[in-house]
Amino acid sequence: MPSSYALGVRLAPWLTITLLSLPVASGLAGVIAPAFGFLPALGGDSLTLTHWQALLDRPGLGRMVQLSYVTGLVSAGASLAIVMLFLGAFMHTRVFTAVRRLLSPLLAVPHAAAAIGLAFLLAPSGLLSRALSPGLTDWQHPPDILFPGDPFGLAMIAGLVLKEVPFLLLMSLAALPQCRASERLRMARALGYGPLSAFLKVVVPGLYPLLRLPVYAVIAFASSTVEVALILGPTTPPPLAVAVLRWLNDPDLSMRFMASAGALLQLGVTLAALATWWLIEVLVRRLTRRWLSNGRRHNGDAVLGGIAFGAVSLSLLLILGSLVGLMLWSLAAYWPFPEALPQPLTLRNWTRAAASMGDPLTQAAVIGIVATLLSLALVVGALEAETLHQRPTRPWAQLILYLPLLVPSVAFLFGLVLMQIQAGVPPGITAVIFGHAIFVLPYVFLSLGESYRRLDPRWAHLARSLGASPARVFWRVRLPMLSVPLMTAAAVGFAVSIGQYLPTLLLGAGRVSTITTEAVSLASGGDRRLTAVYALLQLAMPALGFALALGLPRLLFRRRSGLLTSV
């Protein structure tokens, strides 16, 4: 064990950096050459701009670009605003404690499942319209409204906001103590500022810099999402990322050249959205400089607080409504339109799905477990190296951690696929596992990092002075003492893996199907009942993971109460 420990601590930081940066860098490099016509495997052996020309000539390209760009900025802006107003109005209150408990389960909901739930709730023939019809609306038939799939992408933005609010809220919870938010807030309150004004004027200037990378990750994801756009987004034309995916799945292989150009354009659009956001940051800092110190202690605290409460309640109601909708549809047999409830309820949809769901469930579980274990081993190794050498994290390390979340995945994954073909590597479950690990690792690191670094160094000192080697301290003291945060990080990683759509689809070349790829492809078909079953299964897997993560340490250490409360 000691030698494997020493080797692990030496290698893990480098392997982590490699896993995070190499696929992104080589994937991007892999689309550049084909975008300019060079891809010998498909007969492209000269540099040309014709594929860019073809891309620019695509009807509706401007609209696609605009949709992606606007969606990225608007959904990030709305999510951030909701989170800031909510924290400002409710930090140090009971509402806050209640919402805090809901966060991890909410975060574990895959994007696709949330999108399907929202679609089933808000569609013209969805649960909401059924609940109100015909009593309030007089509708005997579903109204002819294009929603979800509205041309402005509002449904898509709503779906994204619903998922990004819990993410930003969780990131804020980690950042608040770091910027000494409670002290700042108390100080300003003592000076007579209203709660929300105090938060906006005193805490946000310290909190935002810590949230910058998570917000950028939200912009990058929202401007290039595929699965949410497939379920909730407009179709003619779709957002750019969806179009790129279509081109690269086109049976006509020569379309891949244009798809490469499209992938690069997607990178450009995301970068443009990020640059715009950065400019807005500068502008806001300029414009609020006076306002910060103008001495006004109440800036519509009551109104803004009300808005915050409304927004958060609405989000929770939408989530709850989506869940109820999914359950009802999964149990529905015959359910004509204005009826609020299906009658009779049946388990037939589940038994029908049972025949085909075994394979996607097992695949998803195997991929999720292996990708999580791989990430966890690397993250723990990297953190242990950091602890052992008492090295503070360097700023660029944080950036590398966020790299896979900041570069549009459709761009670099497609590059990886092209390289896979070029190198003759067969697509399949191994490639998919590595693909998932790229996205799982950052979340595992973010989840575990604080706990690992905050563990009192005196525990290790004490154990060493009692004669334990660094390896023994790691295995016998640090790991068991961190078992609760370790299990939580594993559950987070597993949930992230279950939610992955694009890496499974692209790196598996359609041969690997998980519960999520099945759910997304069912959602674009017409079978709501079967789709609901798969969406619920998508929810159930991460939920099972979290239940295990919470339950297992409590079972193993049921007679060690200090471990469950102190760490």
Binding site: H461, S465, L466, S469, M481, S483, R560, G562, L563, S566
Partner: protein, 210 residues
């Protein structure tokens, strides 16, 4: 037992000198180090025990008799540590906490017997399987002391060991700790804010100033 010798020890933080000390602590002697916070008392203990943070630089040597500790890893120094918190490992039972520091020799049964005997010595017989979280403050402090002693240290470092105990317990623990380090002839270095600690130790006192 050998003396703990601090030979021309100088510790500096980013180039500026923090403290210097040159002394020898005889077996069974308790040397008290006093001074305001920030003068580097705990840093000195970290240096002796082998955990000096890389932000600091140190010169000089630490010896136990003829044995030079300066370049040894912390686990090979055989220097026992007591903190202001008992720091019983929360994932181990009381008995396993004691066994953690014991040298891995003898059969399982013998080790168990040694743990039982140690528990009896501090009035906690039959506590081996208890969750440390269920112990009282005084019981935890006694287990912590016994855990260090069972690791057979050659010297002891006390980092404000009584500051978190209430008044009655404090006297009791002072007595117990000083009695045991004398019994085992351990050269002992104590860092404290409390003049009463120094008085109870009854040995030399070094005042550190800024």
């Amino acid at each position: 037992m050998h003396s703990l010798i601090l030979e021309n020890v100088h510790i500096a933080l980013e180039g500026s000198s923090l403290l210097g000390i040159d002394t020898a602590i005889a077996p069974g002697e308790v040397l008290t180090l006093m001074g305001p916070s920030g003068v580097g008392k705990s840093t000195l203990l970290a240096y002796i025990a082998g955990f000096l943070s890389p932000a600091f630089s140190a010169s000089g040597r630490v010896r136990l008799g003829e044995r030079d500790l300066t370049r040894l890893p912390a686990e090979a120094r055989r220097v026992g540590l007591l903190f202001q918190d008992p720091l019983l490992f929360p994932h181990l039972g009381v008995g396993d906490n004691l066994a953690f520091g014991m040298i891995a020799d003898g059969s399982r049964r013998e080790r168990q017997q040694r743990v039982e005997a140690a528990l009896e010595e501090i009035g906690l017989e039959g506590f081996a399987h208890r969750d440390p979280a269920t112990l009282s403050g005084g019981q935890r402090s006694r287990v912590a002391l016994m855990r260090v002693l069972l690791s057979k240290p050659k010297a002891m470092l006390l980092d404000e060991p009584f500051s978190k105990l209430d008044a009655t317990l404090r006297d009791e623990m002072r007595q117990l700790v000083f009695e045991r380090v004398r019994q085992e002839s351990l050269p002992t270095l104590m860092v404290t804010h409390d003049a009463a600690d120094a008085e109870a130790a009854g040995g030399r006192v070094i005042e550190l100033n800024d």
